[in-house]
Symmetry: none
Subunit: 192 residues, 4 copies
């Protein structure tokens, strides 16, 4: 293969990101290698380094993109929603459905949980999401829709639930549950 030279760096960069997402998702950061990514992207090794400083940069770019995407989706879903039940419903449904249809994006973030870099970004992201849930609950309690409780604590639990859901998707696809069932449990509990 000689010079492809499609003259549009943006095009190439996009292709790299796309392919890299797949490769990182399949192999994880450590196992993925630049040679494979380059081949999959139909580009030379050196070509990769035209667009990304190094492997880490490529990974981080991908992850940030992914987190931004979810944040945007969430904001869109929650805007104009003033009913706490509707809000928590939206959030859970969105999370569950997102996870179901974006396995690769999630694998990207979750493949290596204790991952050394990009950790701060992830932490910030998770904190923000927890705060979001907390506010919905607080609002629900204030409006008398939800039982009186410690919103921060309950938010942590629901956040963990969603996080666990996401992990389930990574490990075993069969562990999925329907958003409605989840909501039912969250809202009504187990007891009669």
């Amino acid at each position: 293969m000689v010079h492809m030279n499609n003259r549009s760096g943006t095009e190439t960069k996009k292709r790299i990101l796309q392919v890299a997402a797949e490769v990182f998702a399949e192999y994880g950061y450590a196992e993925a290698n630049m040679r494979l990514i380059s081949r999959s992207a139909g580009i030379s090794v050196g070509g990769l380094y035209l667009y990304f400083k190094d492997k880490e940069d490529l990974y981080l770019t991908l992850m940030n993109e992914s987190l931004d995407y979810i944040n945007q989706k969430t904001r869109d879903a929650l805007k104009d929603t003033h009913d706490p039940i509707e809000a928590i419903t939206s959030l859970i449904t969105l999370s569950v459905n997102y996870a179901k249809t974006n396995r690769e994006r999630i694998l990207l973030q979750g493949r290596e949980l204790g991952f050394s870099f990009g950790l701060e970004v992830k932490k910030k992201f998770f904190k923000e999401r927890r705060r979001l849930i907390e506010e919905i609950i607080r609002d629900g309690v204030a409006k008398g829709v939800f039982r009186s409780c410690d919103p921060a604590e309950k938010a942590k639990i629901i956040f963990s639930l969603l996080r666990g859901f996401v992990v389930s998707i990574i490990i075993d696809d069969e562990a999925l549950f329907a958003a409605e069932e989840c909501l039912d449990l969250i809202l009504n509990g187990l007891l009669k």
Copy 2:
């Protein structure tokens, strides 16, 4: 250093496992290296291979041990318990407390979630736990203590919740919640 000549190979093997657990927990599988493990265990590199076929074998042994340990703990806690509320309380409390005090063991399993090998063992383990929860719920529904529902589905949700909790421990220690709050939500839900 010449032959350390422990009482027995078993002694040495134990020490290796102990050290390896720490190293894998701190660095993750890919980042951990055999030289470090051997040095930390006060053994030669070659010595490692006397007790374990290869790196994977060492890791897998460790993981199986860890999973067996949890299973045993759970069986102990649930035996002689016939009240569904008490049972689910036991399970959740156990899981949460175990996670809080065994961060290292969890890191071992969870550091690289979609990890290529050992997956089958993990899957089996998780399936078993899900089944356990399911049975408690089914029992609770049958006894009229829990609301009528799809036990399998609800089990998945609670399982995810616990899984998420475990992940929270790996990533950020602050996301922890008290077992009681969790139980309260699970049992009573959010609604008034």
Copy 3:
């Protein structure tokens, strides 16, 4: 940036040479890279190859230019000089002063002494300079101004002295000495 459209290619070529001299002087041949040179020259990488066959060609052109320059300076200084003392004084003064004020040019030649290519050109240059010194001495001996000696041998020594001076400039600026002191030693020696 599109075509810069200098008056002529000659203009561009000059700028490249100028910039390349600085870069080679600062980084040495191996460490210098074409991208840096091109950027510094305000030209594209490809543009470089319009004027020079390859990196080596660029370096060689530079070096030849530099050697020619010194030769010219020397010829100018020595022409019309018939007194051996005056001649050796001229040569030494010129060499020392040149070295002091043209550090970059010298770095260019000297950065990598045993450098594989361009060696022949350098050798020829050095031989010529040695011959020049030799002739001055021979003339001085013939005229009865210098002590009877082996001019070729003494020329080698003085040549080495100047060469060492030049190296001193490259490595440590402080090792410089005044041309007069040098001359004094050469002419009168250490002994009383």
Copy 4:
């Protein structure tokens, strides 16, 4: 080739150093590559890194060894010498003869003059040598054997002379001169 395992790391390390000296001398630091060194030493690439942290470490070890060697030689030659003429004779003869018979060692240090690392060590070494020459001259002047002069300045000149001699060896073998001729010039000068 399988494991040579000669069980004596010291032996291997010595062989590596020997071979590396040759390779660095022939190709210079930048051009020399670890694969070549390893092959020449009859060892694997990885083997190299058992004894040296990295390429730089290997080079630096070599250089320090070389400088230490010269320093020792010089100390040996100068001890018990109280006559300035004899001392300067010793130093020059030693330097010249050393250069003649240790071309490789010198190439090692001098191949890349403006070399980024190891520079401090070299500078210290050179400074020390200059100081040594200076003291001999100062002593000679004090004893009334040498003409009254600025010893520091004259030392720089003689130091440069020796340095240039060393460089001549690197570039062209033919530029060598006999130690006696050199001494004669230094002591008596050119003038009648």
